[in-house]
């Protein structure tokens, strides 16, 4: 799907969702393999109450970042913000979909700051992360 740009969308509009299947090997690369890690040591994860290792919660902010770079372009890389809460663990092998919906557009230093509600859902439709992300509108789009 072609990325939607900031100026083409209005408050209330949704961005194209971004879906990620999270493999253990990707978690290993993200977190770094080590023993006694709930992310990369299956036995340790079980001891800590998880049936399989967890994806690092921070990975979800990377998905939001990808969505925001596609949407806001340069104005996210320089001037972007993310503020999220991680409300449900994400397990290795799960599929996450990142969503965004435009919440507001406000003037800031001669530019417009576009703020989106953002959230991630797992394959069962359960929210795993909720919050906001924003960027400054620019003419340069990814």
């Amino acid at each position: 799907m072609k990325p939607q740009t900031a100026k083409a969308l209005q408050v209330g509009d949704a961005l194209p969702p971004l879906t990620k299947s999270i493999a253990q090997r990707q978690i290993d690369c993200y977190s770094g393999v080590r023993p006694h890690s709930i992310h990369t040591d299956p036995e340790w994860a079980r001891k800590k109450g998880f049936k399989v290792p967890l994806a690092q919660a921070l990975m979800s902010t990377a998905y939001v970042s990808q969505m925001m770079v596609q949407f806001c372009g340069e104005g996210f890389v320089r001037g972007g913000r993310i503020s999220v809460a991680f409300i449900k663990p994400v397990l290795a092998g799960e599929t996450l979909t990142a969503h965004g919906r435009i919440k507001s557009r406000e003037q800031e230093g001669g530019k417009a700051r576009v703020t989106l509600e953002v959230w991630c859902e797992n394959q069962d439709g359960v929210k795993t992360m909720v919050g906001t992300a924003s960027g400054l509108e620019s003419d340069l789009q990814a």
Partner: protein
């Protein structure tokens, strides 16, 4: 010489400061991150509007998040909240370091949390690249995670 102790609610103090090791952003770091999150945007590998390539804005999140490991043994960590502000683009070849300060700790529903403010700068120029704050659960040393009570936000490292 750093004397490491296992992290606990009692051991962590508000006002306590952390500092990461310095880190050189290498091409392989960008490539590994791109694979890990499946994001191969051309700005990271070919050309960006900033001139040359840049790195993923959230590439250094773990440098900040793991600062407490420079002082404590952390048997497991759950990450409850994250705030980022992206000030300047990250680039391969930058040597970067994060500084942090514990600004709060609290108990909620029987769980302990610590809140850390951080700033990541380029070492050579002192330029601020990223700043923000994060909330981490202080996991009980011998405890297990009770998923059914996970309502306040806590989901990995």
């Amino acid at each position: 010489m750093v004397e490491f102790k296992t992290i606990s609610y009692e051991a962590v103090t508000v006002g306590e400061e952390f500092m990461s090791d310095d880190f050189l952003i290498k091409p392989e770091d960008v490539e590994t991150f791109a694979y890990a999150v499946d994001d191969h945007h051309p700005w990271y590998f070919k050309e960006s509007p900033f001139g040359g390539t840049i790195a993923h804005p959230v590439l250094l999140g773990n440098q900040a998040l793991l600062m407490r490991h420079s002082r404590y043994i952390v048997p497991a960590g759950l990450h409850a909240k994250m705030q980022f502000e992206f000030v300047e683009p990250l680039r391969v070849g930058m040597r970067v370091r994060s500084h942090g300060k514990v600004i709060d700790k609290y108990e909620r529903r029987g769980r302990h949390y610590m809140v850390t403010q951080f700033e990541t700068r380029e070492e050579d120029t002192g330029t601020v690249l990223t700043r923000g704050q994060f909330t981490q659960m202080i996991f009980p040393e011998s405890g297990v995670h009770l998923e059914t009570t996970n309502r306040q936000g806590a989901a990995g490292r």
